[in-house]
C-alpha cells in the first residue's frame, strides 16, 4: 500500500483518527454499536428483574419440580397427574419430536414426488402439482391444521356409532383398523415372550423406558442389512474383475429376512387389535385426531415448499447432463435417479434444512388442535397454572433452539458428505 493513508509516519495517533481514518473507522463503529447493543440487553435484563421483583415474582425455576396436577392424553412414556412439571414438559418435548420427525419424513417423500412430477411432460400432472403447491404454499399452515381437525371431527363416526346390533359404522381392513373422529386405532405389535424394558434414569423426572424387544429387533435387522450390503459390494467387485455378476439377491434377502423372522418368532410376535370397550376402543395403537391433523397439515404444507426446492434443484442441472445420459443409453427414469438427482441434491439440501426447521417450529401450533406438544404442556398448561410466563418462555426458547441447532448440525454433516468433492 502507499504511504498516503498511513499517518503514523506523519505524526502520532490522534483521537480524531478514530472517525476520520479509514483504517479505524469501521472498528470504531462496530465497537460503538456493540456497546449500544449490550447496554440495551443489560437494561432489558435489569428492568425485567426489577419489575418482577416489584410484582413479587422473582424468577425461579423451582416450579418445574412441583406436581403438575394435570393429565396428558398422548404419552409416549408413563405419566400421571402427580408427576412434576418437568416430566410433563419432557413428555411434551417427546410429542414435539414425534410429530416433527414424522412430518419431516412424509414432507420429504411427498415433496420430492411432487417436485419431480411438476416437471413432467404430462400437462395434467404438472398442472395438478402446480395447483397443489400453490394451494398449500399460499394459505397459512394454521388454517390447514384447523381444517384437517375439523374435517376429521365432523366427517368420521364417533366410537358410539360402532356399538349395537346393527352399528352405523364398522371397522376397516378386515376388522383391524377403526377410523373414528377421535383418531385412528391400528393394530399394535406385541410380544408374548417379551424381554421387558430397560429403565433409564431411575425414578427421576426424565426416566425413560426402552423396550428390549425393539432393541434386539433393530440390532438384528440392521446387522442383516449391513451384511447384505457387504455381499452386494463383493458382487460388484467380482463384476468389475470378471465382467460377470454373480446372482446374489436371494442370499442378500435371506441374510436380512431369516434372522429377523427368527427373532420375531422367538419373541412371540403378534398383533393386538383394537376392540370397542366401554366408551372407546381399547387395545391397538391410538393415533389421536390431533396428531393426525397436525401431522397431515404440516407435511402437506411443508411438502409444497420442498417440491419447489426439488424442482429448482433439478432445473439447476444443465440440460447437457440429460442429453449426455441419454446419449449413453440411459432411460429417463435412470437418468433422473443416477445422474440428475444426485447432483441436484447439492443444491437442494441447504434450503431443505431450513424447511425441516420450519416444520419443527410450526409444530408449536399444535395447541390449536389440542395436541400436547411442549408448547401445550410447558408453554401452555404449566405456564398458566404456575403463572411463570418468563421462565416457561425462556425454557421453551432454549428447547426449540436446541432442536433446531441439532437438526442443522445433522443436516450440515450430511450436506458435507454429499457435496461436490473437488479433486
Amino acid at each position: 500500500m502507499t504511504t498516503m493513508t498511513d499517518p503514523h509516519h506523519q505524526g502520532g495517533f490522534k483521537l480524531s483518527m478514530l472517525i476520520y481514518d479509514s483504517r479505524y473507522r469501521s472498528i470504531t463503529i462496530q465497537i460503538v454499536a456493540l456497546i449500544g447493543f449490550l447496554t440495551l440487553i443489560g437494561w432489558l435484563i435489569n428492568n425485567t428483574g426489577q419489575n418482577l421483583a416489584d410484582l413479587g415474582k422473582e424468577p425461579s425455576f423451582g416450579f418445574m419440580t412441583e406436581g403438575a396436577g394435570y393429565d396428558i392424553n398422548q404419552r409416549l412414556l408413563d405419566y400421571t397427574s402427580t408427576d412434576t412439571h418437568l416430566r410433563a414438559s419432557f413428555l411434551g418435548l417427546l410429542n414435539t419430536l414425534l410429530v416433527a420427525v414424522m412430518g419431516c419424513i412424509t414432507a420429504t417423500v411427498i415433496g420430492v414426488m411432487v417436485g419431480v412430477a411438476r416437471l413432467s411432460h404430462n400437462w395434467i400432472i404438472s398442472r395438478l402439482m402446480a395447483f397443489y403447491v400453490e394451494m398449500f404454499r399460499n394459505v397459512p399452515v394454521l388454517l390447514w391444521i384447523v381444517l384437517a381437525m375439523a374435517v376429521m371431527i365432523e366427517s368420521m363416526p364417533s366410537p358410539r356409532a360402532f356399538r349395537g346390533e346393527d352399528p352405523a359404522a364398522t371397522m376397516s381392513l378386515f376388522d383391524t383398523v377403526a377410523f373414528t373422529n377421535r383418531g385412528v386405532y391400528v393394530p399394535e405389535p406385541l410380544f408374548s415372550n417379551s424381554l421387558g424394558n430397560i429403565h433409564l434414569f431411575g425414578t427421576s423426572s426424565l426416566r425413560f423406558d426402552v423396550s428390549l424387544d425393539l432393541i434386539v429387533f433393530l440390532v438384528v435387522f440392521i446387522g442383516g442389512l449391513l451384511i447384505s450390503r457387504m455381499i452386494g459390494k463383493r458382487a460388484n467387485a467380482t463384476q468389475e474383475k470378471t465382467g460377470v455378476r454373480p446372482t446374489v439377491w436371494h442370499i442378500r434377502l435371506a441374510v436380512v429376512a431369516v434372522p429377523t423372522l427368527t427373532v420375531l418368532w422367538a419373541l412371540g410376535f403378534y398383533l393386538g387389535y383394537p376392540e370397542l370397550k366401554g366408551f372407546n376402543f381399547a387395545g391397538g395403537t391410538h393415533m389421536r385426531n390431533s396428531l393426525i391433523a397436525l401431522w397431515l397439515a404440516l407435511s402437506l404444507y411443508t411438502a409444497a415448499f420442498i417440491a419447489e426446492i426439488v424442482r429448482a434443484g433439478i432445473l439447476a442441472i444443465s440440460k447437457g447432463q440429460t442429453e449426455a445420459a441419454s446419449a449413453l443409453g440411459l432411460r429417463p427414469r435412470r437418468t433422473m435417479s443416477l445422474v440428475i438427482l444426485p447432483q441436484a441434491l447439492r443444491v437442494i439440501i441447504p434450503p431443505l434444512i431450513s424447511n425441516y426447521l420450519n416444520l419443527t417450529k410450526n409444530s408449536s401450533l399444535a395447541i390449536a388442535v389440542g395436541y400436547m406438544d411442549i408448547t401445550g404442556t410447558l408453554g401452555g398448561i404449566t405456564m398458566n397454572q404456575t403463572g411463570r410466563e418468563l421462565e416457561a418462555i425462556l425454557l421453551l426458547m432454549l428447547v426449540y433452539l436446541s432442536i433446531s441447532l441439532t437438526i442443522s448440525a445433522v443436516m450440515n454433516w450430511y450436506n458435507n458428505s454429499v457435496k461436490l468433492k473437488e479433486r
Binding site: L52, Y70, D71, I153, K277, N280, G380
Partner: protein, 379 residues
C-alpha cells in the same frame, strides 16, 4: 419506575381489534368475536412475555383508577362467549351476568355503563392479560383459589356466583353417575381449575380417562356435539349455559355429582388496593341493593332524598361520604345499580329460572333466604 409510559401495552392497538361496534348482524358479531379472541389471544401471550421482559413495566403499581378515568373507558376481561355470563348479543353488545359486573364498575367510576372495552379472554390468556395491564379487571367465571391469589398475585374482590364442577353427557349414553365414566373421553378447557379437579377426581376414584384439552367453550361444544368426546366438564353454571345453546337441550343430561367448590368472582391485580376496593364495593353495592330492596325501578325515588334507612342513604349517597372515601362521586353506587339492576335483577335477567339458562338461586340466594350472598355493611 422505569419507562412508566410504555406500560400501557394496549394503547398502541388499533381500537377496531377490540371495540364492539353496535348494529351489526349476529353472524358478523359472532365472527368478529372469534377473530378478536384469536388476535387477543396471541397478543396477550406476546405482550405478557414482553411485559415481564421489561418493555411494559410495573403495571401493578400504577393508579388504575386514574388510568381508567384518563382513558374514559374500563378495560374488562370477559369470557369469549358463554351465553348468560358473557356473550355479544345480536347487535354486538356484550351482555351477561359477568358483563354486568364490568358495566356496574364502569358506571360507578365513569358514570357510563357503556364505557367498557370488553376483552374476550380464554382460560389460558386471562391471567396474562390481567397481570400485563391489558385489562383493568377480570370478570370471567374465574375461581378464587389460594395459588391464584398468593402465587399469581391477584386480588379476588368477592364472589358473584358460588359454583361447583359438574359433568354433562349425551342422554343416549345411558350414564347416570360420574362414577360410571371410567375410560371416557372428556373435553376440558385448558388453563382452568377444571382440568386439575378432573385429574384428582378420576385418580381418587381409580378411573382412567382421555382428556381432550380445548381453548374455548365453543370449540369444546363442537367436539362434544360431534361425539369426539363423551363428556364435557366445567362449572355447573357453564354446563347449563352450554346446554341452553343446544337445539334440543334435553338430549344431554348434567350428572348429579358436583366434584369441587368453584367460587367465581371478579379479580384485579395485586398492588393497587384502592382499585381493588372500588371493584369490591361495587359488587357489594349490587348485593346490598337486593338486600335492601333497591331495584332499578325504585332507585330514582329512593335516591331523590334521604329516607328512613340510614344504610340505604349511605349507599345511595344521600347521607355520608362513602363515595368520596373511594375516590368516586356520591352517586357511584346509584349509577352501578342503575346500570343493570341489583344483584337479584342481574341474576334473573341473565341466568335466572325464566331464561334459557334456567339456574335456580340455590347457594346464590341472599343470606336471609338461606344462601351465601352477603354484603358487609356500608358504613
Amino acid at each position: 419506575m422505569i419507562a412508566p409510559k410504555l406500560m400501557h401495552a394496549d394503547e398502541g392497538q388499533p381500537p377496531s381489534l377490540k371495540s364492539s361496534r353496535p348494529q351489526e348482524p349476529e353472524e358478523n358479531a359472532r365472527n368478529r368475536a372469534e377473530n378478536q379472541e384469536e388476535v387477543i389471544m396471541k397478543k396477550t401471550v406476546f405482550l405478557g412475555a414482553l411485559t415481564v421482559a421489561g418493555l411494559a413495566a410495573g403495571a401493578s403499581a400504577a393508579a388504575t383508577l386514574d388510568d381508567v378515568k384518563a382513558r374514559g373507558k374500563l378495560n374488562c376481561g370477559v369470557a369469549t362467549g358463554v351465553p348468560g355470563f358473557a356473550a355479544p348479543d345480536a347487535n354486538g353488545r356484550w351482555e351477561g351476568f359477568d358483563v354486568s359486573v364490568c358495566r356496574a364498575v364502569a358506571a360507578a367510576v365513569l358514570g357510563d355503563s357503556d364505557a367498557v372495552e370488553f376483552v374476550p379472554t380464554t382460560g389460558k390468556t386471562r391471567f396474562t392479560a390481567l397481570s400485563s395491564g391489558e385489562i383493568d379487571m377480570l370478570a370471567r367465571n374465574t375461581t378464587w383459589t389460594l395459588s391464584r391469589d398468593v402465587d399469581l398475585k391477584f386480588t379476588f374482590v368477592g364472589v358473584n356466583y358460588y359454583d361447583g364442577q359438574g359433568f354433562m353427557v349425551p342422554k343416549d349414553l345411558g350414564v347416570s353417575s360420574a362414577k360410571e365414566l371410567d375410560g371416557a373421553t372428556v373435553c376440558i378447557q385448558t388453563g382452568t381449575t377444571t382440568e386439575l379437579n378432573l385429574a384428582e377426581f378420576f385418580r381418587a376414584n381409580n378411573m382412567s380417562y382421555e382428556p381432550v384439552p380445548i381453548e374455548t367453550q365453543a370449540e369444546a361444544l363442537q367436539q362434544y356435539n360431534a361425539g369426539a368426546c363423551d363428556v364435557y366438564t366445567t362449572d355447573a353454571s357453564g354446563l347449563a349455559a352450554a346446554r341452553s345453546t343446544f337445539e334440543d337441550p334435553t338430549s344431554s343430561v348434567i350428572l348429579p355429582e358436583i366434584i369441587s367448590k368453584e367460587p367465581l368472582g371478579p379479580l384485579v391485580r395485586h398492588g393497587d388496593n384502592e382499585w381493588g376496593d372500588i371493584v369490591r364495593w361495587t359488587l357489594n353495592a349490587l348485593i346490598a341493593a337486593e338486600e335492601f330492596g333497591i331495584t332499578s325501578t325504585n332507585i330514582g325515588e329512593l335516591s331523590a332524598a334521604a329516607g328512613d334507612n340510614p344504610e340505604v342513604n349511605r349507599l345511595l349517597g344521600t347521607e355520608g361520604n362513602l363515595g368520596e372515601m373511594l375516590g368516586l362521586d356520591a352517586g357511584w353506587a346509584k349509577a352501578a345499580i342503575m346500570s343493570g339492576g341489583n344483584y337479584g335483577e342481574v341474576f334473573e335477567k341473565n341466568i335466572g329460572e325464566n331464561t334459557p339458562i334456567g339456574l335456580a338461586r340455590g347457594l346464590n340466594a341472599q343470606w336471609r333466604d338461606g344462601g351465601l350472598i352477603y354484603s358487609p355493611p356500608f358504613r
